[in-house]
Amino acid sequence: MSAFAGLLRKEWLHIRRDRRTLLVVIFMPIIQVILFGYAIRTDVSGIRLAVVDPSPDASTLELRNRFAGTDAFRVVRVLPNAGALDPLFASGAIQEAILFDGDFGNKLARGLPARVLVVVDASEPNSGSAMESYAIGVIQSYQRDIATKGGAVTIVPEARMRFNPTRASSNLFVPGLIAFVLTIISALMTAISLTREKETGTMEILLVSPLRPLEIIVGKVLAYLVIGFVSVLLVVAEARLVFAVPLQGSLFLLLAEGLLFILTSLSLGILISSRTSSQRVAMIGALAGTMLPTILLSGFIFPIESMPWPLRLISNAVPAKWFVLIARGIMLKGVGLEYLWPQTLILLAMTVVLVGAATRSFRIRLA
């Protein structure tokens, strides 16, 4: 029995010595519970709403106030006509719009059916549905309140989904999936393959050779860049052919942005490999450092809008978040750099910083 006790003891010693893995094992569930608990929320708040009110009167003002009075909505624009809505939706300045009919108040007063149109950005199908039902809820409660005062009024709300009329979830997933696949290929595989060279000793041979550090890095990651690029093409083609996911915008821009994101991920992979000496640790590092944030905090599955502010804040540091915004913009909204330049600039800045840090970390190892 004491022999068996010794074996038990030895295994505990292994676990205690390997602090990093222990930390991951202990903290990962805690963090995941927090992330999932907060991240999987379909309730939306602070929806950026535009109101199109061609002929404002007491009834439309009352309804507008009701929207402004809820936590769910923030009225960011009031417009006289629908002309300016398109660019606002495209840039993401608004997520939802309420359009009153020109004779809304008139018809309401005369007891005729008054029409109001609700337009929702449904590129995220779940929050799209939530936004739609919130708006209709506000309208219906207004209608009930008037009805109890004795007026017989009919408001006919009509909803329209923008960008993703059928609310197909494949449309939501594909842009995120591109980010996910690129993260696996670029960050994970780069980290593992660089660490493998360290582990086996071949890295030293390369370092002693006339090859420059930059050549060694580029030579190593170029293959993964190509593989990543090919996989973007495959995912886009598959999405198109199998799920009929639209590609409204420019394929060229999508591929260029994809390339930028591959570079970001490759640099992350290099950085991870510079801190680790075994493939196992590199794998854990890449999983915790790149894959989880990509799944949880990029808006790929869980809408960032409905996360509490600390998570929203952290999500800004996740490169995948920006890439997902860009990819959705290009694929579903069909917009180009004229709207996507801020996101592109942020991704570009991240890439420059990460490539710099990665090259530096590689140099430091040599000194």
Binding site: T200, G201, T202, E204, I205, L206, L207, V208, S209, P210, L211, L366, A367
Partner: protein
């Protein structure tokens, strides 16, 4: 062939510190061209650090060193072209074939296709591996791999080759064969800088130095050193020098 007294490696007061720990402590020595120079020392005595400085993997904290006539501070790019290196760990890609490994190194050192083909066929016939060019390296026994790794380190005909414990874990017969390869390289004028833990191998070297706690405790031909310290074997000398500090082994 170069003049026998020309200096291949020249180290003067070479020092490397890691924080407060001095791994290499003011070492001074010369290695002559075409010499087989044994670099001995207990584990942790500073051998690997010294090799890493001389091969340009690590910069020294102070002191000077010239390798193949080039300064380690300012001309490491030149040094890298003139040296070959076989690391303590394994030096070849196990999932590549023998021929693929050789072509890879040929490319890294900018050899022409013809030169690579030429040298490959010579190398493989010398090692008796003509039939195995298409074999993945992982399928070779350790001893064969080490001989192959050494030959590949010589592919670009460097003037100096650094071998960091090339024969550890290798059986006695293969070790002997390995040393035949070392002598052949030395006979062609290549300077061989080799670390080892096998004291019989130390006896094969033209000259040896024994590092003790970052310093050079003894330096000379095996015969000179035995006479100087009044010992029968290098093994005895090594133990005498290493014991006061080796402690925990």
């Amino acid at each position: 062939m170069t003049a026998p007294n020309e200096v291949a490696i020249e180290a003067r007061e070479l020092t490397r510190r890691f924080g407060s720990f001095t791994a290499v402590d003011h070492i001074t020595f010369d290695v002559r061209v075409g010499e087989v120079f044994g670099f001995l020392g207990a584990n942790g005595a500073g051998k690997t650090t010294a090799i890493r400085i001389l091969t340009g993997l690590l910069s020294p904290t102070s002191g000077t060193a010239r390798v193949a006539g080039h300064d380690v501070y300012t001309e490491s790019e030149w040094i890298k072209r003139r040296i070959g290196y076989m690391s303590q760990k394994f030096s070849l890609y196990e999932d590549l074939t023998i021929a693929e490994n050789i072509r890879l190194y040929g490319g890294i050192y900018d050899l022409s296709k013809d030169a690579v083909r030429d040298r490959m066929s010579r190398m493989l016939s010398r090692l008796g591996l003509e039939q195995s060019a298409g074999t993945q390296v992982r399928a070779l026994p350790l001893g064969w791999r080490q001989k192959l790794a050494f030959s590949v380190a010589l592919l670009h005909e460097p003037s100096i080759v650094f071998l960091d414990e090339p024969t550890s874990g290798v059986d006695p017969i293969t070790r002997r064969q390995f040393w035949e390869l070392i002598y052949e390289a030395a006979a062609r004028g290549t300077t061989v800088f080799v670390t080892t833990h096998y004291m019989d191998e130390a006896e094969y070297c033209d000259r040896i130095s024994i590092m003790v706690a970052g310093r050079i405790g003894a330096l000379g031909t095996p015969a000179e050193l035995k006479q100087q310290f009044g010992v029968e074997t290098i093994d005895e000398l090594f133990v005498r020098l290493a014991r006061p500090t080796a402690g925990a082994a």
